[in-house]
Subunit: 198 residues, 2 copies
């Protein structure tokens, strides 16, 4: 019904999870209404994200260089390592300014139900980093759910022979909630009340 | 906080009306997660929409050619001209298969409040088309609001000397609507336009 280039763009917008026919249609018309500078910037940004973004070779954070800006920052506190599930969580914690150590991004969580094993999320890379480093505390900041618990316990188990405190963000974070939607005060409390995994 | 290419993409998504920080962030990460074929198709579709889409020289509908597919379709009923505000309305009416005449797209509606005059929405083009055509009825299918009423009345006024029926889509209570959720103006219209049950 629409000219081909419009119906193609509608189809393309449907690649975004959660975007249906109506929203895709609205977005396509919004593109039609944009300045050419805006669409050029949009296109260029999509291209750059796909071509430039890679994982930090130390911590798996998103970066355009070999190492991310946090791993490169020698002014941070080398005693603390915060383990997160997702690079977005790093940005959110950083925005609050309540943690000044280093981070490590997992590629997911252990899930026996979905057949995701420690090797699938490259836990060996994290363990090796801790073994070769001088961290005094590893703070596990993954969301509180079954998979989060399993992953925490697994990491704690492996590190149990070492002289490192392994802690977990305190509960107070609602079960099943996404990390980046937690309000700052709850997040800070959760940092303050972190507990050693026994 | 994010690498530059990601924060640029987040900014770019905010060009879409109604898209805020959170949604833009989610969309940017969805782009990161897409196949390269998908992003290439998305980029190409945006480029094509901006470079190929123009207005039909007869009816202002969106088209990749000089004339749109409806204006080029000689099998349609030449007695009826349906005046709409937006090309999207054409697609919606066509999907229902309830109208088989031709269309004309206005570039908005007359609004004295916003200083939008008949010449701003190129009503002269519509009038000239009707004067030079052989339409028996002009059906005005713009949304029922103050601006819609003014535009309808203006068109009706100009065409009053000609042997053409100018009509307006009935307004009233939508099918299946709950009586108590109908706004007062619609309810009043529905009373005014009540019809004898035959």
């Amino acid at each position: 019904m629409y000219p081909r280039s419009i119906s193609n763009l509608i189809e393309a917008f449907k690649y975004f999870p959660g975007v249906g026919e109506k929203t895709a249609e609205r977005r396509a018309f919004q593109v039609l209404g944009m300045d050419i500078e805006q669409t050029n910037f949009l296109i260029e940004s999509i291209q750059n994200v796909k071509s430039k973004i890679k994982r930090c070779e130390i911590c798996n954070n998103l970066t355009e260089e070999d190492k991310c800006s946090i791993c490169e920052d020698s002014s941070r506190n080398p005693d603390y390592l915060c383990v997160v599930e997702d690079p977005k969580t790093i940005v959110y914690i950083e925005k609050q300014g309540i943690f000044h150590g280093y981070y490590h991004v997992l590629n997911g969580l252990i899930s026996t139900l979905d057949g995701i094993n420690p090797e699938d999320i490259r836990l060996d890379k994290l363990i090796k980093r801790i073994e070769n480093g001088h961290f005094k505390e590893v703070i596990i900041a993954v969301k509180p759910c079954l998979e989060g618990e399993m992953t925490s316990l697994y990491i704690n188990n492996i590190l149990s022979g070492m002289d490192i405190l392994v802690s977990r963000l305190a509960s107070g974070i609602p079960m099943g909630a996404d990390m980046e939607y937690i309000d700052p005060i709850t997040l800070e409390k959760a940092f303050d009340n972190r507990k050693k995994i026994v």
